[in-house]
Amino acid sequence: MPGIGLFRLIYASRSRIGGEAAALASILAEARANTAVAGITGVLLHSPDGFAQVLEGSLAAVGATFERIQNDPRHGEVAVLEAGPADARLFAGRTMAAVDGTAASDLARPVAADPAALLALLHRLLAASSPAGGR
């Protein structure tokens, strides 16, 4: 649905929790709860090295969510890869989906990531993580 005032932001960051499962689980749960409340769709890619996330929603919601994320000590070296108005949601119908990119991606140097390549990777991983398109 072409959203009026739809805004998309993509960032990558380095993890400060290593591969710690419990810490990761709570990050994912918080991400889902926070973005659902704010009407934000997107995807969160994680690996022991880092995170990459697509946030899409109203500018106010994306801005507030991003600012909350920036305050989080569990990651650092945040790089904004893309920020701007968007025509349509790329991840419409999905609340913040989490994708384990440990095997597939190199998030060791997230700052160097290329937004287009990252987006393609996110889509590929998202498709692979939903077997037979099943939810």
């Binding site: 409340v37 009407g39 500018l59 106010a60 919601a61 600012e67 305050n71 609340t95 994708v99 939903s130």
Partner: protein
């Protein structure tokens, strides 16, 4: 996680953007989110801390189980349970096991979810005097900060405390390029991050512009303070999204400790500022703790500052003059005036030391005006058509009225404008190109000649030469001395000379000290030189001898008019 059914939730019904944002704002800080079935959807890290939970509670836990894990007074526990019931009261004031008070407020969310917002009770103003918070950031202002720091120093005799001072590197550029509205928004958001990153017992303040301070309670342990400073520099230095635009800034930090570095607020603030200054001088993006050497360096500087002011008042400066020569016919063209300061106790002080200091303390414009006046008056004693070259600092374009100073010097001395040459460096052109070029243009209209000084160093750009019709390019001495490699140096001299010729600008090689260097620059097409080979900078009273030495002699070939006319 991707296959978790929860990720495939349908989109929540569209909420107005503002409502979503306010919900998020509501969930800032300590908060619990309860799903429609009563299970916990979210426990923020701040809430976990406030409830003294040992570790992060697993998602999906029920509220009663969560409260079992929390350290709460029994009465508080019951009140909590009532709050979770939609029909019950929507606000309660509770105490935790330690007796600290906090308020809990229930907010209904769409989809029958509930948020419980936990807010620690604000300390009484007497403990934390924030009489006049800074309106932009809500932090304490300088006055409130000083009062609070003084009060805390009185209370914290045993454990000591730390003082961090932070400022944004090159904040002015943000303001200048993105506008003050974005700048203000950035300051406010940065301040909110600062507040969130601190413990309740720490105190943050905005001292001035982009300068912030933090009183760190109960510790003067250097590694701990440095760790905190680095953490703050990290979080505050992460990108901001301001009006949809990503903005990133760097920060520098200075640390002072009580009682080690000072026992009163003013001393401590001064020393933290000194450390901050040192961090910035070391290259920004750094953190430095105060050391006694900083104190002595700063005292030396302050003394030097006083001495410099006195030197100017008493005109303890002198100008020395170095000849510039046309080497095709060994003809003297003029002199560059060079500022000298002989300190009564320290002897000669390098301009590289005192000129930046003069710039910093706002003394460069008056000194520059004195230099212009003195140089023009001196040049009037020289035979026609010898000229005098005068260096001007970038700041003279900003702080002083250079046009007026030049006009005054010419009028008072009677020196024709074409015998004055103003030397500007490339960095002066970089600081404020429009104003600088406009001023230079006005000077040139009056007949004053303009030379580009130290060309080839710094941010050299050939396009800069096209931005203004310079009369002369001065090739930096480093290309002549071979300091950058003899072959490379020669190639650059050749390139600049060629460029000068095609742009109709004369070129002069600086720092020519030996015959080999003279031959080299001459071979590369450079006709004018300046350097020890033709004369060191000398005081005015010795110039008659220099001028006589260059007087036309029978031994030299006649100088072709076209080659030497400027």
């Amino acid at each position: 996680m991707g296959t978790d059914p929860a990720t495939a939730d349908a989109m929540p019904t569209a909420e107005p953007a503002d409502e979503a944002a306010s919900l998020l704002a509501a969930l800032e800080g300590p908060a619990l989110l309860l799903e429609a079935d009563g299970s916990l959807g979210l426990v923020t890290a701040e809430a976990a801390r406030l409830l003294a939970l040992e570790d992060d509670p697993p998602a999906g836990l029920g509220l009663p189980e969560l409260l079992d894990r929390a350290r709460l007074a029994p009465a508080a526990r019951a009140a909590f349970d009532r709050l979770a019931t939609p029909s019950g009261p929507d606000e309660a004031r509770l105490t935790d096991a330690e007796g600290a008070a906090f308020a809990v407020r229930r907010v209904a969310l769409p989809h029958r979810r509930l948020a419980l917002l936990l807010r620690p009770e604000v300390e009484a103003p007497a403990v934390c005097p924030l009489a006049r918070p800074d309106p932009l950031t809500g932090l304490a202002d300088r006055t409130g900060f000083r009062a609070a720091l003084t009060a805390r120093l009185a209370d914290s005799a045993d454990q000591g405390l730390g003082l961090l001072m932070l400022d944004i590197d090159r904040f002015r550029i943000v303001n200048d390029t993105l506008g003050p509205q974005i700048g203000d928004r950035l300051l406010a958001t940065l301040a909110a991050r600062l507040r969130r990153a601190l413990r309740g017992s720490d105190l943050a303040a905005r001292l001035d512009g982009d300068e912030f301070a933090v009183v760190v309670a109960d510790t003067s342990d250097p590694p701990e303070l440095e760790g905190l400073a680095r953490r703050l520099m990290d979080v505050l230095g992460r990108p901001y999204l301001i009006h949809g635009q990503p903005v990133t800034v760097g920060l520098s930090a200075g640390i002072a400790r009580a009682p080690q570095d000072g026992r009163d607020a003013d001393t401590l603030v001064r020393r933290a500022a000194m450390a901050l200054h040192a961090a910035k001088a070391a290259g920004r993006g750094r953190c430095a703790a105060f050391t006694p050497e900083m104190q002595s360096r700063s005292e030396t500087r302050r003394r030097m500052e006083t001495d410099l002011r006195r030197a100017f008042a008493l005109r303890q400066f002198a100008l020395h003059y170095q000849p510039q020569v046309d080497v095709t016919c060994a003809r003297l063209l003029g002199f560059e005036a060079l500022l000298r300061w002989r300190h009564p106790a320290l002897g000669p002080v390098s301009p590289a030391l005192f000129v930046p200091l003069a710039e910093e303390i706002g003394l460069i414009a008056p000194i520059g005006a004195w230099v212009l006046m003195t140089a023009c008056r001196e040049a009037m004693r020289w035979p026609e058509p010898l000229f005098v070259g005068v260096n001007v600092s970038a700041l003279q374009f900003e702080q002083g009225d250079l046009l007026a100073a030049v006009g005054e010097a010419l009028r008072h001395s009677g020196l024709p404008a074409h015998r004055l040459e103003i030397e500007v460096t490339e960095s002066a052109l970089l600081t404020n190109p429009e104003t600088t070029l406009a001023t230079l243009g006005r000077l040139r209209e009056q007949g004053v000649r303009i030379a580009m000084d130290d060309f080839g160093t710094g941010y050299s750009s050939l396009t800069r030469l096209q931005s203004f019709p310079f009369d002369k390019i001065k090739i930096d001495r480093s290309f002549v001395s071979g300091g950058r490699g003899v072959a490379e140096g020669r190639a650059i001299v050749r390139a600049i000379t060629g460029l000068g010729t095609s742009l109709g600008m004369r070129t002069i090689a600086e720092g020519v000290e030996t015959l080999e260097q003279l031959d080299a620059v001459r071979d590369e097409g450079c006709r004018e030189v300046q350097g020890y080979l033709f004369g060191r900078p000398a005081p005015a009273e010795e110039l008659d001898a220099v001028i006589a030495r260059f007087a036309p002699s029978q031994r030299m070939p006649p100088c072709p008019e076209s080659a030497c006319s400027a």
